[in-house]
Amino acid sequence: MSRNGVPRVLPWAILGVAVALYVGWALAPASPLYTQLLSPHRLLALAAVLKLAYLLAGAALAFACRDRLEADNPARPAWFLLSLGLLANFAGQLCLAPFQVVRNQTPFPSVADIFYVLAYPFLIAALLVLLNAYREAGFPIGSLVDRAVTLGAVGVIAAVVAVPILRPVAETGGPLLDRILTVAYPVLDLVLLLPLALLLRIALKLRGSHAGEVWVLILGGIVFLCAGDICFAYFQSLGETHLDPFVHATFVLAYGLIAGGAHRQLRLLES
């Protein structure tokens, strides 16, 4: 039981049910649950509300973590940047929400994309600042060769996975802005994956600990964020809109995990 009387497992149960709901929608759209009870419009509106709630919670919790750390703590700017990244995503989602809730539409491209793209520099900077904080604090972040090998491996894997996915996306006809944005998201995600890979390597060394829980949740959330963007780009450009529920599930899970990680960190700082 948490301090405010809410069972600790409840937020995770809600997240699990939400993700299962959207995966179920993708796998069995003809089932009575999705044809009689939950219309596509209701599900889109629910996804919008869930994303807004998790993003706002994540941004507020990350900011609270920043607030709890001392002014000279090297991790403090990382929490601030993470908070700004989540806030930018929140602003993007807030731009889309009225269309999704009222009209059952997700306009693309739209003003929301300005905020979604803006989120990347904040998230990438947050991870870089964190890496630097670990290094400054004397935590072993691996030798230069180790890091180069990790980055090289991630680069090669990303290229092998991304090129076949991005090629049809880039070659699809349509307005130039659509194509630029559709390719830009996965490319920015691949840039995000580089510091993420180094941090995941460190997070593995933290396994089984309080700090490990925090970083596995947050970094896991960012991994799902990248996966969601890549799926979005692929499905959007190829017109595979029936797979959109997977994208919703991935983003809801990503935002939920990040908010959960920030919450764990705040609890750790307050303990």
């Binding site: 001392e70 703590n73 935590f139 060394k205 309080h210």
Partner: protein
């Protein structure tokens, strides 16, 4: 106190917060930087080691919590030293 006893005591206290692998590798890295290489460790070297580890824990736990973990480690070291 022997170096391995000191390392063991410090790692045990830090493990719940940053995990055994990170606690061990951070302690060993700081020992190396501080020149703690012999079989025994002096009280001054222990204090320097705790100072470095406390600075690192700040990142994850904040200054107050980090200070309390370092105090816990100091007690564990005193107990380990006293039991000899």
């Amino acid at each position: 106190m022997t170096t391995s006893e000191a390392v063991q005591a410090v790692v045990k206290v830090m493990t719940p917060y940053i995990g055994d692998t990170m606690a061990r590798s951070a302690t060993q890295a700081h020992c190396q930087k501080l020149g703690i290489a012999g079989d025994t460790v002096s009280p001054e070297q222990v204090e320097a080691l705790l100072g470095k580890l406390g600075g690192g824990l700040n990142i994850f736990l904040g200054r107050d919590k980090s200070a309390s973990v370092v105090a816990e480690a100091r007690q564990a070291l005193a107990a380990a030293g006293g039991s000899r």
